[in-house]
């Protein structure tokens, strides 16, 4: 009888099977050992299957709670993991993962990938996730003592691969394929992603904040890396000015597309009209909210306006602790050529402030809820803008700064009594 009767049912069905991948790894690693390759975690893949079978029987995980492991010089990037079946299955007693910082846009040369696979054939389980949810290459399962040599081998690759983020640090930034393959990209996503990653290597590798912080970068509002939902700081391509129209191409689409039904009627603000006679469309750009729908429908005919840039949405995260957040508009527009500088000018004082005043395990979104947008905008030097809100506040409980008050006896008296007024300024640090 099979040792894994439950898992045996998984390769059924047309979708590629992860169980098959684990089996294949087990078999080919055994073969490689026979061929004399140096493999440090023999039997590991097979043990993974056995442990997983046990989980399928017991309906629960058999991995124990975390554990701190790392490589020299780094504070994060490795997730410690131990099995609670370690006695039975010593091959998976340690099963740490290494997060490897993927290249921007997940483009690879086979040359580089092969080298990385060689490292992981030798030092690890031979299993990996392409990719982790944050975007890293996740090398699944090795022992504490192999973490360091595995990383050292990565250093020696050409080009070398570095470690990604984990813990309360900057997480590995990711971006959509943008200008590499997509006609909609409003700025160079790959370049910005690389630039930020390189600029903030220290923040990425040494957890030191109240909690994690994620950048994600999409070239347009379609948001193909889900930045708006999954990153504390989302950089989303957009534009000002008129959508570019090629009326000839409109005519081509008109041959087979019901432009009235599928474009005009689906524009969320009714900004488009279509002249069925002339087969031409007209856009009231002052009423366009740049949702992308018309452009998505007619990529050959329509292009984003010429003044390109990005919107910053802030605060997105999963529901723990204070509820899930989709990021909200914090900076309506930064011109494309100012992005690298402006993002840094915004994020650095923000980190600084959060680092000082954020609570343990308080994400930026929650922190800003607590501190208020007024103060946030002051900290990052951004003017308030109606574009930041769905609608203005519904309660009259507004604060006023001292400088907004008129001189009066009451104000004098309050000051005399030492009452401090609300202020949006950050208090100067005590030296």
């Amino acid at each position: 009888m099979s040792e894994t009767p439950l898992l045996d049912q998984i390769p059924d069905g047309p979708w590629p099977s992860f169980v098959k991948e684990i089996r294949k790894t087990a078999e080919l690693q055994e073969k490689a050992i026979k061929e004399g390759k140096e493999i440090k975690m023999p039997g590991c893949a097979r043990a993974v299957l056995k442990q997983l079978e046990r989980s399928y029987e017991d309906k629960k995980t058999h991995w124990k709670h975390g554990g701190i492991v790392s490589v020299v010089g780094y504070g994060g990037g490795v997730i410690g993991r131990y099995s609670d079946l370690g006695d039975e299955l010593p091959e998976v007693h340690h099963f740490h993962t290494i997060r490897v910082n993927m290249p921007a846009g997940w483009f690879y040369s086979t040359k580089a990938l092969r080298q990385l696979m060689d490292v992981w054939e030798k030092w690890g389980s031979g299993l990996l996730n392409m990719h982790g949810s944050t975007g890293d290459i996740i090398l699944l399962g090795t022992r504490s003592e192999y973490l360091q040599p595995a990383f050292e081998d990565m250093m020696k690759m050409d080009p070398p691969f570095d470690i990604g983020g984990s813990g309360s640090d900057l997480r590995t930034p990711s971006c959509c394929m943008g200008p590499a393959l997509c006609e909609f990209a409003c700025f160079d996503t790959l370049d910005l992603c690389y630039d930020l990653t390189m600029e903030y290597q220290n923040e990425l590798h040494r957890p030191m904040w109240p909690y994690k912080f994620k950048f994600k970068i999409s070239g347009c509002p379609n948001d193909c890396v889900a930045a708006k939902a999954r990153s504390d700081f989302a950089i989303i391509g957009t534009w000002k000015g008129d959508i570019q129209i090629d009326q000839e191409a409109v005519k081509e689409y008109a041959e087979w597309m019901d432009i009235e039904e599928e474009v005009v009627k689906l524009c969320p603000t009714g900004a488009i009209s279509y002249d069925a006679e002339k087969k031409e469309i007209k856009i009231d750009n002052s009423n366009c909210v740049r949702c992308m729908h018309c452009i998505n429908k007619m990529p050959k005919a329509l292009k984003p306006g010429k003044e390109r840039g990005a919107t910053i949405c802030i605060g997105a995260k999963a529901p723990c602790v204070e509820g899930a957040i989709i990021g909200w508009v914090a900076v309506p527009f930064i011109p494309a050529d100012e992005l690298k500088d402006r993002v840094k000018e915004i994020v650095e004082p923000l980190w600084d402030w959060w680092d000082d005043e954020g609570k343990f395990r308080e994400r930026i979104g929650e922190f800003l809820w607590r501190m208020g947008m007024g103060k946030f905008l002051r900290v990052i030097g951004q003017e308030p803008d109606v574009r930041m809100i769905k609608h203005p506040r519904t309660n009259p409980f507004m604060y006023f700064e001292e400088k907004e008050l008129r001189p009066s006896k009451v104000v004098e008296e309050l000051k005399k009594r030492g009452i401090k007024f609300k202020s949006l300024e950050r208090e100067e640090e005590e030296e």
Binding site: W15, F18, T97, N129, S133, L181, V289, T311, C320, I389
Partner: protein, 369 residues
């Protein structure tokens, strides 16, 4: 431990620069693409302003793969694509061809040798959408907090919905995702359909582990519902079962707070989230099924619910309508009916912590100049 480092030693060197990994044709046309067409499921033709054309051919993967599979993919990329390939943001792998005539061979080779199906694309101009891969997480394969498995459930669902991956016959985009616990690493909080592992029993405090491994005030403070009290005398903590909502925050902070119950762990099913700004601004997912038990290895209960929700949309949505657009048109009342779901008190929000600004902050990028 300031030992002497070898000459090749370095840290903080960062990822390889992306341009090392771009094929020539992309470098040449970088930022100068004119338009694209989906010429068949899985194959996107991209035309550059220069007139150059590339074809990206997309294949589904189980995400958890073998180094040997990666090597096979590399062999194919060497053969057809000058040694380059890429992954998408949803666990699919893409090959970029310049020679249209090689597409069939490439697909055949990947499907036969590696076993990955071609598909997962959507053709908005023509209004024909394919289903793409399920974003998911570690589950019982690696994590310590899951209430459900990840890969096994994804496999069961994708087996069921396979025809929609390899063909483009859906009315709109549909993103499915899964996270094995409320930490939601799969970011299921903004997907058309999603699953999240949930616990249903309060932590069974392991006093011994608490004493050994946890700081008591931190553990108590980790609870969003203030359900944890420090018992200073016994040097442990106590949980108020009436306040606990089984979120697992305390377990994340302290190994002495396990809350696993094989009979009562399971999945909640959500729907109606989205991320893009296309037509409708981004939306959080909403819980529509409070709990389905774990039924490994094929999770028939979960699969059935997903299918019901998916088909209610697929059969009734108008062209381009995503789940939330469809539901907002017909109303949640009608949707529960159509999908055969039951409404219960669990689905009425009672989480004490309110996304307050959220109610008025604008999400997404829809606004006017």
């Amino acid at each position: 431990m300031a030992t002497e480092k070898p000459p090749w030693w370095k840290t903080d060197f960062g990822p390889p620069k992306y341009d090392l990994f771009l094929p020539e044709v992309i470098k040449k046309n970088y930022g100068k693409w004119a338009y694209h067409e989906v010429i068949r499921p899985g194959v996107i033709k991209r035309v550059a302003e220069s007139g150059d054309v590339v074809y990206t051919v997309r294949f589904g993967t189980p995400r958890l793969i073998s180094i040997y599979t990666v090597r096979e993919l590399c062999d194919i990329a060497d053969k057809y694509c000058d040694g380059y390939l890429r992954w998408t943001s949803r666990h699919n792998v893409e090959f970029i061809l310049t020679d249209e005539s090689k597409i069939d061979d490439l697909i055949k080779e990947v499907e036969e040798k590696v076993g990955f199906p071609c598909g997962g694309t959507w053709d908005t101009p023509r209004g024909k959408y394919g289903l793409t891969n399920i974003i998911h997480t570690q589950g019982w394969v690696h994590c310590h907090t899951p209430a459900i498995d990840a890969s096994g459930i994804v496999k069961a669902i994708m087996d069921e919905l396979y025809e929609y991956f390899v063909d483009m016959k859906l009315p709109g985009l549909c993103r499915i995702s899964l996270a094995c616990c409320a930490n939601m690493c799969g970011a299921v909080h903004a997907s058309d359909i999603s699953l999240v592992g949930i616990h249903r029993t309060p932590p069974l405090v392991d006093d011994d582990a608490v004493r050994r491994m946890c700081e008591l005030p931190t553990t108590a403070a980790s609870c969003p519902n203030a359900a944890i009290r420090v018992n200073a005398k016994k040097k442990t903590v106590e949980v108020d079962g009436e306040k606990c909502m089984y979120c697992g925050n305390c377990y994340t902070m302290c190994p002495g707070m396990p809350l696993f119950d094989p009979e009562n762990d399971g999945a909640a099913i959500l729907c109606g989230g989205k991320v893009s700004d296309a037509r409708h601004p981004p939306e959080l997912s909403k819980v529509v099924v409070p709990w389905v038990p774990n039924e490994p290895p094929r999770w028939p209960g979960i699969v059935e619910y997903i299918k019901k929700i998916f088909m209610a949309w697929a059969n009734n949505a108008k062209k381009h309508e995503r789940m939330i657009e469809f539901i907002e048109r017909i109303g949640w009342e009608r949707f529960f009916e159509l999908a055969g779901l039951e409404f219960s008190w669990h689905l009425i929000d009672d989480f004490r912590v309110p996304p307050f600004m959220y109610a008025s902050y604008r999400v997404g990028t829809q606004f006017r100049w």
